[in-house]
């Protein structure tokens, strides 16, 4: 059976609607769990971005852009990197220039040096996850937009 363009499929939309929260929750789990088991910022960010990609495939591009606007996308893609660099600067600030850049042990999250290193690593993973999520979504949206524009030009 051939479908018309723009026709809605109830099964795909319903399954997507149910799946997306679980995908996002799993992505957050992978990012947070990076210190204790398999996982980390890169993987979690890509899994989170796959939720947006699934939404755009099942619904439409404009709806996806509405839920993740361009301004937020650009903001998040640089914010993760700033979190990473900021954690590194905090180590210099809190040790008054004695520690090296990115030496998480000197940031006083807790009273233990080793626990500080673990927590610093968690925050760094979150920064990586945010950047990777935003950049993957941004590349996908841009490519999809480009393809649609090309089709319109061919048709018109």
């Amino acid at each position: 059976m051939k479908r018309k363009e723009g026709e809605r499929d109830v099964i795909v939309e319903t399954v997507t609607r149910i799946m997306i929260p679980f995908i996002q929750l799993f992505a957050l789990y992978v990012i947070i769990h990076g210190a204790g088991g398999p996982g980390g910022g890169f993987q979690g960010g890509v899994v989170f971005a796959s939720a947006f990609i699934l939404y755009v495939i099942a619904f439409n591009l404009a709806g996806g852009r509405e839920r993740f606007p361009e301004a937020a996308n650009t903001f998040f893609s640089s914010m993760g990197l700033y979190i990473y660099a900021g954690i590194g600067i905090l180590a210099i600030i809190f040790s008054l220039g004695a520690a090296q850049y990115l030496n998480y042990g000197f940031i006083p999250f807790t009273s233990h040096f080793e626990e500080n290193r673990a927590l610093g690593m968690d925050f760094v993973e979150m920064g990586i996850g945010i950047t990777v999520m935003a950049i993957t979504a941004s590349i996908f949206f841009d490519l999809a937009q480009k393809e649609r524009n090309g089709k319109e030009e061919e048709g018109g």
Binding site: G34, A35, G36, G37, P38, G40, T74, S77, S78, G80, L81, Y84, A85, G88, I89, I92, Q100, Y101, L102, Y104, H112, E114, E115, R117, A118, G120, M121, V124, E125, G127, I128, T131, V132, A134, I135, T136, S138, I139, D142, L143, Q145, K146, N149
Partner: protein, 176 residues
């Protein structure tokens, strides 16, 4: 719009200053005193005639039995190290090393009548000391985010640059 431009320029200047500071701060490549490359002390034991076995280049039987008992690969030859400013007296090699430098497992320091046996390898320290230094059980994560933190910052920058390049190439509107 003008205020936003000034804010952006200030941020870029801050980032440049940060990168200059960080480049000054990176440990020297091949630095022997860098935190991850320090030696791990295994044990200290008494051996008869310390000086003679260092000179004759024969591994004492007591030492090699102790190493095998602890589950380490058996040593075969010993090399004396001479030179100014070197911390060690000798190193023991495994039999037929494939990578002679990395498999130079055991390092020996003479302390009076006793010898102190240490392991001096980056991978060994990574595996054996990582959990107690960072209190993170995942070996990959503390390697990625702590020991190789500079490297991961660079990788994230690569991804960011790729995304910005796609934005600049594919978006046809003038604003970002």
């Amino acid at each position: 719009m003008n205020g936003l431009r000034i804010f952006t320029i200030i941020l870029i200047i801050l980032l440049c200053a940060l990168f200059i500071y960080v480049a000054e701060d990176i440990p020297v490549f091949g630095d022997r005193d860098a935190p991850p490359i320090k030696a791990v002390t295994l044990f200290t034991m008494e051996v008869d005639q310390v000086v003679s076995f260092l000179d004759q280049q024969i591994v004492p039987e007591k030492l090699s039995k102790e190493l095998v008992k602890r589950g380490f690969p058996p040593p075969s030859r010993i090399e004396k190290i001479t030179g100014i400013g070197i911390e060690w007296n000798a190193s023991i090699l495994k039999e037929e090393p494939h990578y002679a430098k990395e498999e130079r497992y055991y390092w020996i320091k003479k302390e009076g009548d006793k010898v102190r046996v240490s392991r001096y390898a980056f991978v060994v320290r990574w595996i054996e000391k990582g959990l107690e230094e960072t209190s993170v059980p995942n070996m990959v994560t503390y390697g990625l985010a702590d020991y190789r933190g500079y490297d991961t910052l660079g990788e994230t920058t690569v991804i960011f640059t790729a995304g910005v390049s796609v934005i600049l190439l594919l978006r046809r509107r003038s604003r970002l």
